[in-house]
Symmetry: C2
Subunit: 258 residues, 2 copies
Protein backbone atom coordinates (compact mmCIF):
# COMPACT_ATOMS: atom_id res chain seq x y z
CA UNK A 1 0.00 0.00 0.00
CA UNK A 2 1.49 3.38 -0.90
CA UNK A 3 2.35 5.47 2.09
CA UNK A 4 0.12 8.48 2.39
CA UNK A 5 2.14 11.66 2.17
CA UNK A 6 2.14 14.10 5.07
CA UNK A 7 -0.22 17.05 4.67
CA UNK A 8 1.11 20.42 3.58
CA UNK A 9 0.55 23.70 5.32
CA UNK A 10 -1.72 25.76 3.06
CA UNK A 11 -2.17 29.47 3.71
CA UNK A 12 -5.31 31.02 2.26
CA UNK A 13 -5.04 34.76 1.78
CA UNK A 14 -5.81 37.26 -0.96
CA UNK A 15 -3.00 37.73 -3.47
CA UNK A 16 -1.37 41.09 -4.12
CA UNK A 17 -1.15 42.42 -0.61
CA UNK A 18 0.62 41.57 2.63
CA UNK A 19 -2.44 42.07 4.78
CA UNK A 20 -3.04 39.89 7.80
CA UNK A 21 -1.59 36.94 5.93
CA UNK A 22 1.86 38.43 6.36
CA UNK A 23 1.95 37.66 10.08
CA UNK A 24 1.51 33.98 9.22
CA UNK A 25 4.02 34.08 6.37
CA UNK A 26 6.67 35.56 8.65
CA UNK A 27 6.26 32.69 11.12
CA UNK A 28 6.79 30.07 8.41
CA UNK A 29 9.68 31.99 6.86
CA UNK A 30 11.46 32.43 10.19
CA UNK A 31 11.04 28.73 10.93
CA UNK A 32 12.17 27.65 7.49
CA UNK A 33 9.12 25.41 7.18
CA UNK A 34 7.56 25.09 3.69
CA UNK A 35 4.02 26.33 3.13
CA UNK A 36 1.81 26.79 0.11
CA UNK A 37 0.61 30.36 -0.38
CA UNK A 38 -2.59 29.28 -2.13
CA UNK A 39 -3.77 32.72 -3.18
CA UNK A 40 -0.51 33.33 -5.06
CA UNK A 41 -0.54 30.06 -6.97
CA UNK A 42 -1.87 30.18 -10.54
CA UNK A 43 -5.55 29.29 -10.88
CA UNK A 44 -4.48 26.38 -13.08
CA UNK A 45 -2.77 24.90 -10.05
CA UNK A 46 -5.77 25.42 -7.81
CA UNK A 47 -4.73 28.83 -6.53
CA UNK A 48 -5.57 32.48 -6.93
CA UNK A 49 -8.22 34.66 -5.37
CA UNK A 50 -10.85 32.19 -6.55
CA UNK A 51 -9.45 29.46 -4.35
CA UNK A 52 -9.54 31.79 -1.35
CA UNK A 53 -13.10 32.85 -2.15
CA UNK A 54 -14.24 29.24 -2.49
CA UNK A 55 -12.94 28.44 0.97
CA UNK A 56 -15.09 31.26 2.35
CA UNK A 57 -18.18 30.36 0.35
CA UNK A 58 -18.36 26.59 0.23
CA UNK A 59 -19.36 24.82 3.41
CA UNK A 60 -16.66 22.34 4.36
CA UNK A 61 -16.19 19.87 7.18
CA UNK A 62 -15.00 22.80 9.26
CA UNK A 63 -16.16 26.15 10.53
CA UNK A 64 -16.30 28.43 7.50
CA UNK A 65 -14.14 31.49 8.22
CA UNK A 66 -15.66 34.93 7.92
CA UNK A 67 -12.51 36.04 6.13
CA UNK A 68 -8.91 35.13 5.46
CA UNK A 69 -6.25 34.40 6.50
CA UNK A 70 -6.90 30.74 7.16
CA UNK A 71 -4.42 27.92 7.50
CA UNK A 72 -5.24 24.38 6.40
CA UNK A 73 -3.28 21.35 7.47
CA UNK A 74 -4.89 18.03 6.67
CA UNK A 75 -8.30 18.07 8.28
CA UNK A 76 -7.57 21.11 10.41
CA UNK A 77 -8.59 24.57 9.25
CA UNK A 78 -7.82 27.52 11.50
CA UNK A 79 -8.86 31.11 10.84
CA UNK A 80 -8.26 34.37 12.70
CA UNK A 81 -4.64 35.50 12.55
CA UNK A 82 -3.93 35.27 16.28
CA UNK A 83 -5.55 31.83 16.50
CA UNK A 84 -3.55 30.60 13.51
CA UNK A 85 -0.32 31.73 15.11
CA UNK A 86 -1.26 30.31 18.48
CA UNK A 87 -1.99 26.95 16.84
CA UNK A 88 0.95 26.74 14.47
CA UNK A 89 3.75 28.42 16.43
CA UNK A 90 4.54 25.43 18.68
CA UNK A 91 4.62 23.23 15.57
CA UNK A 92 7.04 25.64 13.89
CA UNK A 93 9.16 26.14 16.99
CA UNK A 94 8.62 29.89 17.07
CA UNK A 95 7.26 30.11 20.63
CA UNK A 96 8.56 28.60 23.87
CA UNK A 97 6.84 25.34 24.84
CA UNK A 98 5.63 26.24 28.33
CA UNK A 99 2.00 27.29 28.79
CA UNK A 100 2.79 30.60 30.47
CA UNK A 101 4.90 31.75 27.52
CA UNK A 102 2.28 30.70 25.02
CA UNK A 103 -0.43 32.53 26.94
CA UNK A 104 1.75 35.61 27.11
CA UNK A 105 2.50 35.46 23.39
CA UNK A 106 -1.18 35.13 22.53
CA UNK A 107 -2.18 38.15 24.58
CA UNK A 108 0.44 40.31 22.91
CA UNK A 109 -0.60 39.03 19.50
CA UNK A 110 -4.25 39.85 20.22
CA UNK A 111 -3.25 43.37 21.15
CA UNK A 112 -1.29 43.62 17.90
CA UNK A 113 -4.49 42.46 16.15
CA UNK A 114 -6.32 45.37 17.77
CA UNK A 115 -3.63 47.71 16.48
CA UNK A 116 -3.90 46.27 12.97
CA UNK A 117 -7.69 46.74 12.97
CA UNK A 118 -7.22 50.36 13.98
CA UNK A 119 -4.61 50.95 11.30
CA UNK A 120 -7.07 49.60 8.74
CA UNK A 121 -9.73 51.97 9.98
CA UNK A 122 -7.50 55.01 9.53
CA UNK A 123 -8.17 54.72 5.79
CA UNK A 124 -11.58 53.04 6.10
CA UNK A 125 -13.28 54.69 9.09
CA UNK A 126 -16.79 54.41 7.64
CA UNK A 127 -17.02 51.15 5.70
CA UNK A 128 -14.72 48.52 4.23
CA UNK A 129 -17.08 48.36 1.26
CA UNK A 130 -16.49 51.97 0.26
CA UNK A 131 -13.45 53.36 -1.50
CA UNK A 132 -10.96 55.40 0.49
CA UNK A 133 -11.88 58.35 -1.73
CA UNK A 134 -15.44 58.12 -0.44
CA UNK A 135 -14.37 58.46 3.20
CA UNK A 136 -11.30 60.69 2.93
CA UNK A 137 -12.63 63.41 5.15
CA UNK A 138 -13.42 61.02 7.98
CA UNK A 139 -10.13 59.22 7.39
CA UNK A 140 -8.16 62.42 7.89
CA UNK A 141 -9.86 63.00 11.21
CA UNK A 142 -9.49 59.42 12.41
CA UNK A 143 -5.87 59.17 11.28
CA UNK A 144 -5.05 62.36 13.16
CA UNK A 145 -6.35 60.89 16.38
CA UNK A 146 -4.65 57.59 15.63
CA UNK A 147 -1.29 59.26 15.15
CA UNK A 148 -1.67 61.47 18.17
CA UNK A 149 -3.04 58.97 20.67
CA UNK A 150 -3.06 55.40 19.49
CA UNK A 151 0.41 54.98 17.98
CA UNK A 152 2.07 56.13 21.22
CA UNK A 153 -0.27 53.92 23.24
CA UNK A 154 0.38 50.75 21.26
CA UNK A 155 4.12 51.36 20.93
CA UNK A 156 4.24 52.04 24.66
CA UNK A 157 2.46 48.77 25.33
CA UNK A 158 4.92 46.78 23.24
CA UNK A 159 7.89 48.58 24.76
CA UNK A 160 6.53 47.90 28.24
CA UNK A 161 6.07 44.26 27.34
CA UNK A 162 9.83 44.00 26.89
CA UNK A 163 10.25 45.03 30.54
CA UNK A 164 7.92 42.32 31.77
CA UNK A 165 10.07 39.65 30.12
CA UNK A 166 13.37 39.70 32.01
CA UNK A 167 14.50 36.55 30.17
CA UNK A 168 14.46 38.50 26.91
CA UNK A 169 16.81 41.21 28.26
CA UNK A 170 14.92 43.93 26.40
CA UNK A 171 15.59 42.15 23.13
CA UNK A 172 12.73 39.65 22.78
CA UNK A 173 9.10 39.78 23.87
CA UNK A 174 8.56 36.20 25.02
CA UNK A 175 11.16 33.92 26.58
CA UNK A 176 14.89 34.01 25.85
CA UNK A 177 14.80 34.19 22.09
CA UNK A 178 12.83 35.10 18.99
CA UNK A 179 9.14 34.20 18.93
CA UNK A 180 6.34 34.87 16.49
CA UNK A 181 5.39 37.92 18.54
CA UNK A 182 8.72 39.52 17.70
CA UNK A 183 8.05 38.82 14.03
CA UNK A 184 4.63 40.47 14.30
CA UNK A 185 6.14 43.45 16.09
CA UNK A 186 8.68 43.79 13.29
CA UNK A 187 5.79 43.81 10.84
CA UNK A 188 3.78 46.51 12.61
CA UNK A 189 6.83 48.73 13.09
CA UNK A 190 7.69 48.33 9.39
CA UNK A 191 4.08 48.92 8.42
CA UNK A 192 3.62 51.99 10.58
CA UNK A 193 6.86 53.43 9.18
CA UNK A 194 5.55 52.86 5.67
CA UNK A 195 2.13 54.36 6.35
CA UNK A 196 3.07 57.19 8.67
CA UNK A 197 6.77 57.99 8.08
CA UNK A 198 6.62 61.51 9.52
CA UNK A 199 4.63 60.52 12.57
CA UNK A 200 6.76 57.46 13.25
CA UNK A 201 10.04 59.35 12.94
CA UNK A 202 8.78 61.46 15.82
CA UNK A 203 7.05 58.76 17.87
CA UNK A 204 9.79 56.16 17.68
CA UNK A 205 12.22 58.32 19.57
CA UNK A 206 10.48 57.38 22.79
CA UNK A 207 10.77 53.65 22.16
CA UNK A 208 14.19 52.94 20.65
CA UNK A 209 14.10 49.30 21.73
CA UNK A 210 11.30 48.64 19.25
CA UNK A 211 13.39 49.96 16.38
CA UNK A 212 16.22 47.74 17.55
CA UNK A 213 13.84 44.78 17.69
CA UNK A 214 12.72 45.57 14.14
CA UNK A 215 16.34 45.56 12.96
CA UNK A 216 17.18 42.38 14.87
CA UNK A 217 14.29 40.52 13.22
CA UNK A 218 15.11 41.91 9.77
CA UNK A 219 18.67 40.60 10.18
CA UNK A 220 17.67 37.03 11.03
CA UNK A 221 19.15 35.08 8.08
CA UNK A 222 15.88 33.46 7.02
CA UNK A 223 13.92 36.70 7.39
CA UNK A 224 16.59 38.69 5.55
CA UNK A 225 16.41 36.17 2.71
CA UNK A 226 12.62 36.34 2.70
CA UNK A 227 12.53 40.13 2.64
CA UNK A 228 14.91 40.13 -0.34
CA UNK A 229 12.83 37.54 -2.20
CA UNK A 230 9.81 37.86 -4.46
CA UNK A 231 7.77 36.07 -1.81
CA UNK A 232 7.72 39.31 0.18
CA UNK A 233 5.01 41.45 -1.39
CA UNK A 234 5.93 45.14 -1.11
CA UNK A 235 3.75 47.37 1.05
CA UNK A 236 1.11 48.93 -1.18
CA UNK A 237 -2.19 50.79 -1.09
CA UNK A 238 -4.26 47.60 -1.25
CA UNK A 239 -2.97 46.45 2.12
CA UNK A 240 -3.62 47.39 5.71
CA UNK A 241 -0.66 49.74 6.01
CA UNK A 242 -1.21 52.34 3.29
CA UNK A 243 0.82 55.44 2.66
CA UNK A 244 -1.54 58.31 1.99
CA UNK A 245 0.61 61.38 2.71
CA UNK A 246 -2.45 63.39 3.69
CA UNK A 247 -3.03 61.02 6.64
CA UNK A 248 0.54 61.36 7.93
CA UNK A 249 0.12 64.82 9.37
CA UNK A 250 0.50 66.43 12.71
CA UNK A 251 -2.53 65.51 14.77
CA UNK A 252 -5.36 68.00 14.83
CA UNK A 253 -6.05 69.56 18.18
CA UNK A 254 -8.76 67.83 20.12
CA UNK A 255 -11.80 70.02 20.67
CA UNK A 256 -12.79 68.52 23.98
CA UNK A 257 -12.93 65.07 25.44
CA UNK A 258 -13.43 63.06 28.56
CA UNK B 1 1.10 24.95 59.33
CA UNK B 2 -2.13 26.54 58.13
CA UNK B 3 -3.24 25.44 54.72
CA UNK B 4 -3.03 28.20 52.19
CA UNK B 5 -6.45 29.00 50.82
CA UNK B 6 -7.13 28.51 47.12
CA UNK B 7 -6.91 31.65 45.03
CA UNK B 8 -10.06 33.44 43.95
CA UNK B 9 -10.98 34.39 40.45
CA UNK B 10 -10.80 38.18 40.24
CA UNK B 11 -12.30 40.00 37.27
CA UNK B 12 -10.95 43.48 36.60
CA UNK B 13 -13.31 45.63 34.61
CA UNK B 14 -14.67 49.17 34.80
CA UNK B 15 -17.78 49.50 36.98
CA UNK B 16 -21.05 50.85 35.63
CA UNK B 17 -21.18 49.16 32.27
CA UNK B 18 -21.40 45.64 30.89
CA UNK B 19 -18.71 46.18 28.29
CA UNK B 20 -16.35 43.39 27.36
CA UNK B 21 -16.33 42.24 30.97
CA UNK B 22 -19.84 40.88 30.48
CA UNK B 23 -18.62 38.02 28.30
CA UNK B 24 -16.46 36.85 31.19
CA UNK B 25 -19.20 37.37 33.77
CA UNK B 26 -21.61 35.25 31.76
CA UNK B 27 -19.16 32.33 31.73
CA UNK B 28 -18.78 32.41 35.52
CA UNK B 29 -22.50 32.86 36.07
CA UNK B 30 -23.42 29.97 33.76
CA UNK B 31 -20.88 27.75 35.51
CA UNK B 32 -22.01 28.78 38.98
CA UNK B 33 -18.40 29.45 39.96
CA UNK B 34 -17.78 32.37 42.34
CA UNK B 35 -15.73 35.33 41.15
CA UNK B 36 -14.89 38.73 42.53
CA UNK B 37 -15.97 41.61 40.32
CA UNK B 38 -13.20 43.90 41.56
CA UNK B 39 -14.37 47.07 39.82
CA UNK B 40 -17.75 46.84 41.54
CA UNK B 41 -16.38 46.35 45.05
CA UNK B 42 -16.20 49.43 47.26
CA UNK B 43 -12.83 51.17 47.24
CA UNK B 44 -12.60 50.47 50.98
CA UNK B 45 -12.50 46.77 50.12
CA UNK B 46 -9.83 47.24 47.45
CA UNK B 47 -12.23 47.67 44.56
CA UNK B 48 -13.64 50.34 42.30
CA UNK B 49 -12.33 51.94 39.15
CA UNK B 50 -9.13 52.82 41.01
CA UNK B 51 -8.27 49.17 41.49
CA UNK B 52 -8.78 48.53 37.77
CA UNK B 53 -6.68 51.55 36.86
CA UNK B 54 -3.87 50.45 39.19
CA UNK B 55 -3.68 47.08 37.46
CA UNK B 56 -3.16 48.88 34.15
CA UNK B 57 -0.64 51.37 35.48
CA UNK B 58 1.52 49.52 37.95
CA UNK B 59 4.03 47.07 36.56
CA UNK B 60 3.43 43.66 38.08
CA UNK B 61 5.04 40.27 37.74
CA UNK B 62 2.96 39.84 34.59
CA UNK B 63 2.36 41.44 31.24
CA UNK B 64 0.54 44.71 31.94
CA UNK B 65 -2.71 44.68 29.94
CA UNK B 66 -3.43 47.55 27.58
CA UNK B 67 -6.98 47.57 28.88
CA UNK B 68 -9.55 45.57 30.80
CA UNK B 69 -11.06 43.04 31.13
CA UNK B 70 -8.39 41.03 32.86
CA UNK B 71 -8.79 37.94 35.01
CA UNK B 72 -6.44 37.22 37.89
CA UNK B 73 -6.12 33.84 39.53
CA UNK B 74 -3.20 33.44 41.89
CA UNK B 75 -0.09 34.27 39.91
CA UNK B 76 -1.85 34.13 36.56
CA UNK B 77 -3.18 37.29 34.93
CA UNK B 78 -4.91 36.99 31.57
CA UNK B 79 -6.17 39.91 29.48
CA UNK B 80 -7.98 40.12 26.15
CA UNK B 81 -11.57 38.85 26.37
CA UNK B 82 -11.16 35.93 23.97
CA UNK B 83 -7.92 34.83 25.65
CA UNK B 84 -9.55 35.02 29.08
CA UNK B 85 -12.42 32.84 27.94
CA UNK B 86 -10.11 30.40 26.19
CA UNK B 87 -8.07 30.07 29.37
CA UNK B 88 -10.86 29.89 31.91
CA UNK B 89 -13.59 28.00 30.05
CA UNK B 90 -12.07 24.52 30.52
CA UNK B 91 -11.66 25.30 34.22
CA UNK B 92 -15.31 26.36 34.45
CA UNK B 93 -16.58 23.46 32.34
CA UNK B 94 -18.16 25.73 29.74
CA UNK B 95 -16.38 24.28 26.70
CA UNK B 96 -15.85 20.66 25.61
CA UNK B 97 -12.47 19.24 26.62
CA UNK B 98 -11.18 18.13 23.23
CA UNK B 99 -8.72 20.35 21.39
CA UNK B 100 -10.77 20.63 18.20
CA UNK B 101 -13.79 21.98 20.08
CA UNK B 102 -11.67 24.47 21.99
CA UNK B 103 -10.04 25.69 18.80
CA UNK B 104 -13.45 26.03 17.16
CA UNK B 105 -14.82 27.95 20.14
CA UNK B 106 -11.87 30.33 20.15
CA UNK B 107 -12.24 31.16 16.47
CA UNK B 108 -15.92 31.98 16.89
CA UNK B 109 -15.16 34.06 19.96
CA UNK B 110 -12.49 36.02 18.08
CA UNK B 111 -15.01 36.76 15.35
CA UNK B 112 -17.46 37.93 18.00
CA UNK B 113 -14.67 40.17 19.30
CA UNK B 114 -14.40 41.69 15.82
CA UNK B 115 -18.14 42.32 15.86
CA UNK B 116 -17.93 43.94 19.28
CA UNK B 117 -15.14 46.27 18.12
CA UNK B 118 -17.25 47.30 15.15
CA UNK B 119 -20.30 47.93 17.33
CA UNK B 120 -18.16 50.19 19.48
CA UNK B 121 -17.02 52.11 16.45
CA UNK B 122 -20.60 52.82 15.33
CA UNK B 123 -20.74 55.44 18.08
CA UNK B 124 -17.00 56.18 18.16
CA UNK B 125 -15.85 56.07 14.53
CA UNK B 126 -13.19 58.77 14.96
CA UNK B 127 -11.69 58.39 18.43
CA UNK B 128 -12.44 56.68 21.71
CA UNK B 129 -11.13 59.79 23.44
CA UNK B 130 -13.81 62.06 21.97
CA UNK B 131 -17.42 62.28 23.06
CA UNK B 132 -20.07 60.74 20.87
CA UNK B 133 -21.44 64.24 20.37
CA UNK B 134 -18.16 65.23 18.76
CA UNK B 135 -18.37 62.48 16.14
CA UNK B 136 -22.12 62.19 15.60
CA UNK B 137 -22.03 62.92 11.92
CA UNK B 138 -19.43 60.24 11.21
CA UNK B 139 -21.25 57.87 13.56
CA UNK B 140 -24.46 58.19 11.58
CA UNK B 141 -22.65 57.26 8.41
CA UNK B 142 -20.72 54.38 9.92
CA UNK B 143 -23.77 53.01 11.73
CA UNK B 144 -25.74 53.06 8.49
CA UNK B 145 -23.14 50.89 6.79
CA UNK B 146 -22.89 48.69 9.87
CA UNK B 147 -26.62 48.06 9.91
CA UNK B 148 -26.82 47.49 6.19
CA UNK B 149 -23.78 45.29 5.67
CA UNK B 150 -22.09 44.16 8.82
CA UNK B 151 -25.01 43.02 11.00
CA UNK B 152 -26.24 40.64 8.27
CA UNK B 153 -22.69 39.42 7.69
CA UNK B 154 -21.93 38.66 11.34
CA UNK B 155 -25.35 37.16 12.04
CA UNK B 156 -24.97 35.05 8.91
CA UNK B 157 -21.59 33.83 10.13
CA UNK B 158 -22.99 32.78 13.50
CA UNK B 159 -26.00 31.14 11.91
CA UNK B 160 -23.75 29.26 9.49
CA UNK B 161 -21.58 28.16 12.40
CA UNK B 162 -24.58 26.26 13.76
CA UNK B 163 -24.64 24.23 10.53
CA UNK B 164 -21.00 23.25 10.85
CA UNK B 165 -21.64 21.72 14.28
CA UNK B 166 -23.91 18.73 13.63
CA UNK B 167 -23.53 17.61 17.26
CA UNK B 168 -25.30 20.78 18.35
CA UNK B 169 -28.38 20.08 16.18
CA UNK B 170 -28.76 23.77 15.33
CA UNK B 171 -29.08 24.57 19.01
CA UNK B 172 -25.50 25.02 20.22
CA UNK B 173 -22.39 26.36 18.52
CA UNK B 174 -19.73 23.98 19.87
CA UNK B 175 -20.24 20.34 20.80
CA UNK B 176 -23.46 18.84 22.12
CA UNK B 177 -24.34 21.41 24.74
CA UNK B 178 -23.96 24.96 25.95
CA UNK B 179 -20.51 26.54 25.75
CA UNK B 180 -19.17 30.00 26.44
CA UNK B 181 -19.60 30.82 22.77
CA UNK B 182 -23.36 30.41 23.10
CA UNK B 183 -23.27 32.77 26.07
CA UNK B 184 -21.36 35.35 24.03
CA UNK B 185 -23.78 34.96 21.15
CA UNK B 186 -26.65 35.57 23.54
CA UNK B 187 -24.90 38.73 24.64
CA UNK B 188 -24.34 40.12 21.16
CA UNK B 189 -27.90 39.34 20.07
CA UNK B 190 -29.23 41.05 23.22
CA UNK B 191 -26.86 43.95 22.72
CA UNK B 192 -27.67 44.47 19.06
CA UNK B 193 -31.38 44.38 19.89
CA UNK B 194 -30.82 47.04 22.52
CA UNK B 195 -28.72 49.27 20.28
CA UNK B 196 -30.50 48.77 16.97
CA UNK B 197 -34.05 47.57 17.73
CA UNK B 198 -35.51 48.58 14.40
CA UNK B 199 -32.68 47.18 12.34
CA UNK B 200 -32.57 43.95 14.31
CA UNK B 201 -36.30 43.38 14.06
CA UNK B 202 -35.79 43.33 10.32
CA UNK B 203 -32.45 41.51 10.16
CA UNK B 204 -33.27 38.76 12.63
CA UNK B 205 -35.99 37.33 10.42
CA UNK B 206 -33.33 35.71 8.26
CA UNK B 207 -31.67 33.96 11.21
CA UNK B 208 -34.40 32.70 13.55
CA UNK B 209 -32.09 30.12 15.09
CA UNK B 210 -30.03 32.89 16.68
CA UNK B 211 -33.12 34.30 18.39
CA UNK B 212 -33.92 30.81 19.62
CA UNK B 213 -30.35 30.44 20.88
CA UNK B 214 -30.68 33.76 22.70
CA UNK B 215 -33.87 32.57 24.40
CA UNK B 216 -32.37 29.17 25.25
CA UNK B 217 -29.42 30.80 26.99
CA UNK B 218 -31.63 33.33 28.79
CA UNK B 219 -33.70 30.43 30.15
CA UNK B 220 -30.75 28.52 31.63
CA UNK B 221 -31.55 28.59 35.34
CA UNK B 222 -28.27 30.18 36.44
CA UNK B 223 -28.38 32.73 33.62
CA UNK B 224 -32.04 33.53 34.29
CA UNK B 225 -31.17 34.12 37.94
CA UNK B 226 -28.22 36.28 36.96
CA UNK B 227 -30.22 38.40 34.54
CA UNK B 228 -32.81 39.03 37.26
CA UNK B 229 -30.15 39.96 39.82
CA UNK B 230 -28.42 43.24 40.55
CA UNK B 231 -25.20 41.70 39.32
CA UNK B 232 -26.46 42.17 35.76
CA UNK B 233 -25.80 45.80 34.89
CA UNK B 234 -28.48 47.07 32.51
CA UNK B 235 -27.45 48.08 29.02
CA UNK B 236 -26.67 51.79 29.02
CA UNK B 237 -25.00 54.52 27.01
CA UNK B 238 -21.63 54.03 28.72
CA UNK B 239 -21.29 50.53 27.29
CA UNK B 240 -20.44 49.08 23.92
CA UNK B 241 -24.02 48.53 22.87
CA UNK B 242 -25.64 51.99 23.04
CA UNK B 243 -29.10 52.95 21.97
CA UNK B 244 -28.91 56.19 20.05
CA UNK B 245 -32.15 56.21 18.04
CA UNK B 246 -30.55 58.31 15.32
CA UNK B 247 -28.12 55.44 14.58
CA UNK B 248 -30.91 52.85 14.24
CA UNK B 249 -32.15 54.00 10.87
CA UNK B 250 -32.57 52.48 7.49
CA UNK B 251 -29.14 52.29 5.90
CA UNK B 252 -28.21 55.13 3.58
CA UNK B 253 -27.71 54.17 -0.02
CA UNK B 254 -24.16 53.50 -0.94
CA UNK B 255 -22.79 56.01 -3.41
CA UNK B 256 -20.42 53.64 -5.11
CA UNK B 257 -18.08 50.92 -4.02
CA UNK B 258 -15.65 48.30 -5.19
Amino acid sequence: MPRRSAPQYELFYWPGLQGRGEFVRLAFEAAGVPYVDVGRLPAARGGGAGAVARLLEEPGPWLTPLGPPALRYGKVLVAQTAAILQWVAPRLGVVPRDEASRLRAHQIQLTIADLVAEVHDTHHPIAVSLYYEDQKQEAARRAGEFVRERIPMFLGYLDGALDSNPAGRGRWLVGRGMSYVDLSTFQVVAGLRYAFPRAMARRERAVPRLGALHDRVAALPRIAAYLASERRIPFNESGIFRHYPELDLAAPRRRRGP
